[in-house]
Symmetry: C2
Subunit: 149 residues, 2 copies
Amino acid sequence: MDVETTEPSAGTDLFAAIPILGQMGITLVESGEGRASVSMPAEPNVNHFGVIYAGSLLSAAECLGGVIGFATWPLAGYVPLVKRIEITFLRPALGTVVASACLAEGDAERVRTEALERGKSDFVLEATLTDSSGEVVATTRGVYQLRRM
Amino acid sequence: MDVETTEPSAGTDLFAAIPILGQMGITLVESGEGRASVSMPAEPNVNHFGVIYAGSLLSAAECLGGVIGFATWPLAGYVPLVKRIEITFLRPALGTVVASACLAEGDAERVRTEALERGKSDFVLEATLTDSSGEVVATTRGVYQLRRM
């Protein structure tokens, strides 16, 4: 099926399009088809007891769905959005945090096909957040949708 | 049991202690024993398709656990923290969002008693987010802990 695609840079432009992610200091580490990593510094994301705030950790993980969505399905008129997401905090996060996720096997092609046929397709993304000590500090499970707007 | 308490203002000081909440423009609407509401403007929380960013909505809801925790259990040396939280997005959020939550019946006393006896006690908080149209745009369910640090 021949479809119009967006610019390859759409995934990285997500940070320009969502100002609060920039204010958290979240930056792209790398992205490609089906995978992405972002980095987030401790400042200005510290909380009332000196570790990284829960909402910032969630944001670093959540935005991977957008980055991966744009990187994997650069289809004009389609955007990735999140339907629900859960985060589990395992230990206090200190220093710079890296959030990483990759699509499940086969989802790149499945979601593309379904979205083009039906206008939307759901996908699940499980992300891992690691802090400067190398420990996994939190995990997320998000249900996203690639959708024709 | 006679215990040292923190200043009554500790709940509202949460916004000073977590800079990123201030950058999202989140402000306290009201709080009291077992309940709280906060407000958040659309700017600078808009996302890549013009509605309020998922991570900001989560943050507005999540911080209610801290506000309610400090307002309900002003115990010196104890802090509320979040163990896991899930957010479900129901519709696009436009304009100013209000997030509200209240403790389940009996939890104010149960958590206080357990935390003083054992050093920690879990509580669940279900929050509702309403946008400027009056529609519920998202709901959250968080598991928190009041903990002696």
